[in-house]
Subunit: 350 residues, 2 copies
């Protein structure tokens, strides 16, 4: 088992990663609480209720995916915790994919004005969202616009949960793995592309996942509340969220298209050939990402969604993360007119 | 104008109290922001839209009273802020009674994972709830069970807003004024009872209000997250919230009945005559509090609500604030069976 610890001045937590670690590690946390409540993703419950989670009685089940992140589903989740008699001294254990983690963590954050919680991510995607204390639900105006910063007491990432993931889920999660490689180094990207040239298999990704967790931990420890470098973790996400919202495709698929757009705009902004766009287009298509969506984008609608991004500070620009010639991410404000032009130019280039 | 400042290690804020201070003080805060959004209580809007708040364009209106604190009203409030293009760098100004402050502050806390906000309490009751950074909405399981700790950037308490308050609103607000006097000293209680022997007039209360703010500031600065002495501010509230929920009476009315119950139980627990129960019963009745409700309490239903109180740590007891022979508040756990007996004994004594 690998362990990574945050480096805040206090209230640090550990991310545990390994195979078959769930029950023993959970026991370590729950033993300190009189009262433990479980929020479990319905898919995880269906797969594991007779095996690894069979000891969990009366969990609060969440619908899988973004359906867990509507206002109605969220309020129902909070009411279910209250119904079960949750106390400030209780521990909430959230077991599931990224959406369950986001909604479950937010529920723990606001119920009784905040109770302790543990994240148990069960998907490839959730290895990212479970770390860093960001929790959220969706608004009719965009994704993740309602939420809180609420640190978990611990994160248990048991890689055995990945074995039952359907292929689209793996593909979606790989978007964040790829993003972490971009934030890590050019070499990390090359290694990852080599490893996955013939397709993505979860078992081939373990080293990259662990590297990615290390990258994420670095940024969330350095800048918890996203006033500076943490924004870099949004690489690919500004347009990605807009695409996800408009086309209702999985988060990681949308992020991957957003990363392609980031490469296109970075090449233009830096006037360099930093990214081999054709090679990336081919690679993403071969893996199964719906690159054809990029050809259908409505720039004005995309802009409308992007303008709700939490990083924006002005009405006339969109905050965006790009990469420079030294393969370093940077934050910039792109004028709305210029952004429309970039989206149009990208469409024409495809 | 009087000013009180919190004494946290950082991110302190000031409570400004005075007559006619609203616009000048507000200007001091809003000048630091490009973008200001207003949440205004519909009653305040109706009274002051042509005068003191006439410069406020397109405010988000909230329904007055607890109707602002349902899950549906709350989500609508958050969506309205997003609809108006709120950014992380925006300031939200919340103008209204206690419920508007609770819901508006919570909305500021979760929209985009938290934006700055200013509390502008306009009622007697809200002089209490606007200070201390507690925000909340109600659950079907009880009051204030869903919320966050989110410090305002400032609190502007303009006593001129009190001039239009209807009598029941003054009576409700006086519950917290009385509670603060209890927490302050036996002498403060005597002075307050003398001042109000012939009825409650807002203009007679200013010194007591300012004393009360000082008391509240002391506790919220000492123990922001209610792990210790801040609990004392819940004096009268444990049973008070249960009564409020069951009988749908104003908050302060319920708190006053809760304070009477606190006196009854304190006298019994300390085996003393600390509180002259008959005199208090007469005083509260004369002021117009519905003391007859205490004779109709269903102890088991009250207990059910009290068990949802956020201070509880066990299923077999109810956390309760009492006062000892030195007129000091203390926290204790009362067994559920004993609590039922106390409520029955109090009913018989009336």
């Amino acid at each position: 088992m690998k362990e990574f610890k945050t480096t805040y001045p206090d209230e640090n937590y550990t991310v545990h990663v390994g195979h078959g670690i769930f029950n023993e590690t959970l026991q370590y946390y729950t033993s300190g609480y009189d009262d433990v409540l479980y929020i479990v993703d319905e898919n995880v419950h269906a797969h594991f209720k007779h095996t690894v989670i069979k000891h969990i009685k009366a969990p609060v089940l969440t619908r899988s995916g973004e359906a867990a992140k509507t206002a109605e589903a969220f309020m129902q989740l909070v009411e279910s915790l209250l119904e079960r008699g949750i106390k400030r001294s209780s521990l909430v254990v959230v077991i599931g994919g990224g959406a369950t983690g986001d909604a479950g963590g937010f529920a723990a954050s606001v119920t009784l004005r905040g109770v302790d919680f543990i994240q148990v991510p069960t998907t490839l995607l959730a290895h990212d969202s479970a770390i860093g204390g960001k929790t959220a639900i969706n608004s009719s105006h965009g994704k993740n616009l309602i939420g809180a910063f609420h640190r978990p007491r611990g994160v248990i990432y048991d890689l055995d949960f990945l074995t039952t993931l359907p292929e689209p889920e793996i593909l979606s999660g790989f978007g964040e793995v790829y993003k972490h490689a971009l934030l890590n180094s050019e070499k990390a990207v090359t290694v990852l592309m080599d490893r996955t040239a013939g397709g993505i298999k979860a078992e081939d990704l373990e080293d990259s996942i662990i590297e990615g967790i290390r990258t994420k931990m670095y940024y969330v420890s350095e800048d918890e509340f996203e006033s500076g470098s943490r924004k870099f973790l949004n690489l690919g996400h500004t347009l990605g969220h807009a695409i996800e919202y408009e086309y209702k495709i999985p988060h990681g698929h949308a992020v991957m298209l957003g990363l392609y757009a980031m490469m296109f705009i970075s090449n233009n902004e830096t006037d360099s050939g930093l990214f081999d766009l054709e090679a990336h287009q081919r690679y993403f298509s071969n893996l199964g990402y719906p690159m054809e969506i990029l050809e259908t984008l409505d720039p004005v609608r995309m802009l409308k969604y992007m303008k709700h991004d939490k990083k924006n500070t002005s009405d006339d620009t969109v905050g965006f993360i790009l990469m420079n010639n030294d393969f370093q991410p940077y934050f910039t404000e792109i004028g709305t007119g210029k952004m429309v032009k970039y989206i149009r130019a990208m469409k024409e280039s495809l």
